[in-house]
Symmetry: C2
Subunit: 506 residues, 2 copies
């Protein structure tokens, strides 16, 4: 027995229909609908599409009036999507600007049967969202849509192949992405979004037919698109809030999702405030030359011996280091600082220079991580400066957010960390350099991809549709970068850990 009540967006229900007789001349359709109304929990009006109706008389009689139809639920209605099905699949999808991640679930058991990650094919047009928006405004918008939709259909096909099912076995796709990605996915014009006052085409999309969405799953299945609340508060954040559960808690909690933008949610079951601002790419994909996303070969953990200054790194996958990811960068700066190799302003100390691990290369000093049998990693002084700017922005966002509602970090009960950044971050070290408040280790919840998790949860529990609606109603948005407090507080946070370490207290 599952430890939660399974209430998925698509389900089967075995029914035995009363057989027609001279005293019961109801039509096949009305007979099936009446039988379905006796299924536990099925209190929605049910539609039967015409092409399913066409099969109904034959299938009913062939199976002696016993059926297990597949029902797809789209908010206030159910649809018979197939007459006889014993297993149904659903896919949750997070469309990130850089990466798309999908999970495949068997919906009658609620079991996750697989997952896949794939680069967003739009990166061929531009690595960041702004470049793509400009390309769209220059006429590439159909191309951008086709790239994305094609990539998603391929991702679905890959999942199907890997798990020996066919696309028509998939009855539901739940999709979470930021406002821009959602527009590209739906082929909605993005032209008004980058211009004052930043107006998207639509916030609430809800359920679409696969045909309308251009997605190759069961034609009578459904595609659910998470709503956005503003240009900077997309479906990915809504899904993230859903998966954290912070909108149901009494005490205030923080949720941080770090990518190129830092998105911060602060709230309780009574109010939610979302802030977003540019934190720079340093936190997601590390730093310019050596920076990379948290994929195989990325350095994610760094230790420096305080005596010998010997460096020990760990890479994802365990192989040769190819670059350094966001969490690796946090550890590196924390270790460099604790080993006395950089000062509070991030400058290499004489100790570091004398140890010979800092070299002048191309007119700039760089810390060298030796890679036997490969290219050494060179972390330049400017990389460290960029990183400190990002960490300062991050901390200041949190500080401004919490202070703006008259709270302090000690009032924040849970600190949810999401995003590529949130898979393997060492909260202690992040706090050590003053990027996040210095709270008890138990306060931190590393969520991984919280947007994907929200999409997964909805797949298995359609009652969360109501939660999504109330999350949207509860949210107020706070613009961060243009905030006066932000500009005033940022400089202090550029220091390691901070010019006023007391503000870190959590």
């Amino acid at each position: 027995m599952p430890d939660f009540f399974l209430n998925p967006l698509a389900a089967t229900c075995s029914v035995r229909l009363e057989k027609p007789s001279p005293s019961d001349k109801r039509a096949d359709k009305e007979r099936l609908i009446e039988a379905l109304s006796r299924c536990p929990g099925e209190d929605l009006p049910v539609d039967i599409p015409l092409d399913i109706l066409r099969e109904l008389p034959h299938t009913l009689r062939e199976r002696d009036f016993c059926l297990s139809p597949a029902l797809v639920f789209t908010g206030d209605r159910g649809t018979v999507a197939a007459l006889q099905k014993t297993s149904l699949y659903g896919v949750a999808l997070d469309i990130g600007s850089t990466n798309m991640a999908a999970s495949l679930f068997e919906l009658t058991t609620g079991k996750k049967v697989g997952g896949q990650e794939k680069e967003n094919p739009q990166t061929a047009v531009g690595l960041d969202v702004l470049t793509r928006m400009h390309a769209a405004m220059g006429g590439a918008s159909e191309k951008l849509h086709r790239l994305l939709a094609g990539g998603i259909n391929e991702l679905l096909l890959d999942l199907c192949r890997e798990h020996s099912i066919v696309p028509s076995d998939i009855y539901v796709l739940t999709v979470a992405g930021n406002t821009i990605m959602t527009h590209f996915f739906l082929d909605l014009p993005v032209e008004s979004i980058p211009l004052e006052p930043y107006i998207p085409v639509a916030h609430h999309i809800g359920f679409l037919s696969p045909r309308e969405a251009g997605i190759a799953i069961c034609p009578h299945g459904t595609v659910y698109v998470f709503p956005s609340v503003g240009s900077y508060v997309g479906g990915d954040i809504i899904a993230g809030i859903l998966s954290s559960g912070l909108y149901r808690e009494e005490a205030p909690s923080l949720l941080v999702d770090v990518g190129t933008n830092a998105e911060i949610v602060l709230g309780t079951r009574e109010w939610l405030m979302v802030g977003a601002g540019a934190a720079g790419p340093a936190l997601e994909s590390g730093i310019s030359e050596m920076g990379m996303r948290a994929v195989e070969g990325a350095v994610y953990s760094v230790e420096i011996d305080r005596e010998s200054l010997a460096v020990r790194v760990r890479t994802l996958g365990g192989g040769t280091p190819k670059g350094i990811c966001g969490s690796g960068m946090i550890e590196l700066v924390a270790e460099l600082f604790d080993a006395g190799m950089i000062d509070g302003q991030g400058r290499f100390t004489s100790r570091a220079e004398e140890a010979g691990v800092v070299k002048e290369t191309g007119g700039s000093k760089a810390f060298i991580i030796p890679v036997p049998g490969g290219n050494n990693l060179r972390i330049k002084a400017t990389d460290i400066n960029n990183f400190l700017l990002s960490k300062a922005a991050m901390f200041t966002f949190l500080q401004v957010m919490v202070q703006s509602v008259g709270l302090e970090f000690v009032d924040v009960e849970k600190f949810y960390v999401s995003g590529a950044f949130g898979t393997g971050i060492d909260a202690g070290k992040a706090a050590r350099i003053g990027m996040i408040p210095d709270k008890d280790r138990n306060a931190f919840v590393l969520m991984g991809n919280s947007s994907l998790k929200g999409a997964e949860m909805l797949l298995l529990d359609r009652s969360l549709l109501a939660d999504i609606e109330s999350i949207c109603r509860m949210i107020t948005y706070k613009e961060m970068n243009t905030d006066g407090d932000f500009m005033r507080l940022l400089p202090g946070a550029l220091f390691i850990p901070h010019t006023d370490p007391a503000v870190l207290k959590g």
Copy 2:
């Protein structure tokens, strides 16, 4: 000002949207939906299809945030079917087994702008429904569907051409037909219908997308299919009841629709009983050799001079007589009887034979209607017998129906006559030969095509959807031909006017 409140299935509503500003950053979609909610009478949730959303940002700004969208209402929802429309069209369609009839309306004014009639192309497969059902069971069902759908699309195109509009100007099609025609229209299998216990695939279809229904109108428009209640109580009868209004009256009324089958409705605002039975083709398309439907050239009125026995006929269109239709046949038999040319059993009298207007032709006696410059019309003794069988069946249906609920003809307030038969019938003459009860002339309401009228009414007043639902709930069905009373009472009705003239009293 129109003399009724126009509440059509598709409407436009002019809205001026609030413009976006830094303090109002709602998305275009939510902005439009909020503006539409301020239209008078629009209290339904409104959907905007994806491809309309794609045009929204551009159209909104081009028109400076003033729009007149076309809204299509499908029961519990509205859909924005176009962003800017000042005139909208709708078509009401009656699919008869023999004939299809359509009316074109401009929905913003409620004005009927045209109409067309066309033979049901399925007659190429079989003149009557039974032949077509057998053909369908022998594999011709797709062909039958294609013939019908093709014919309907042609009919729509003809209407468009005639009134200089394009199919995408049509936003709604309301369709009424008997249960079999409805199945053929929707390509639903008819196999179970002719077999005990006569089970159709579906009674309630409701609103379909034009794509699903295979109908070439505006893709975001809708096709509404009148529900049926049983194999013999189709959408045409429901639409007929709707147009008569008898379901809203306190006193009992009768509605008769005569085709190959006679369909009779008896009821009040509290109950409705429908009976159907085979009345023979004599009432719809006249009689075997000379019979024809009520189209140009058909004799619809007959007078016989009581002295000279000279015959004077009137034809539809005023031209040369080509045959005789149902109402012509009623008048002919009434006149022959009143002129003493046939007796109470329908046999030619010696008076007729002596006058030389009855001739022996092909081993059978026939009454000759001379046609100068054309072929004389010959009405054979067997034709008159067949006609008397039909009139007897008709009267007995009415009698059984009324008696079965403990009423008499005097209790019946209105007598609605529908069908091809009901366009030009002389109720006095029909009563004279004992085909219908002998009621006051004011009691009779000749409705023409009541099924088409019902479809027209719904087009202009969507509140009638609730009426349709209650009509369906109120109906009980009475099988006529197999009724014991029918068999007992029929023989008396074969006589002109009746063996017991007192039963005709109404």
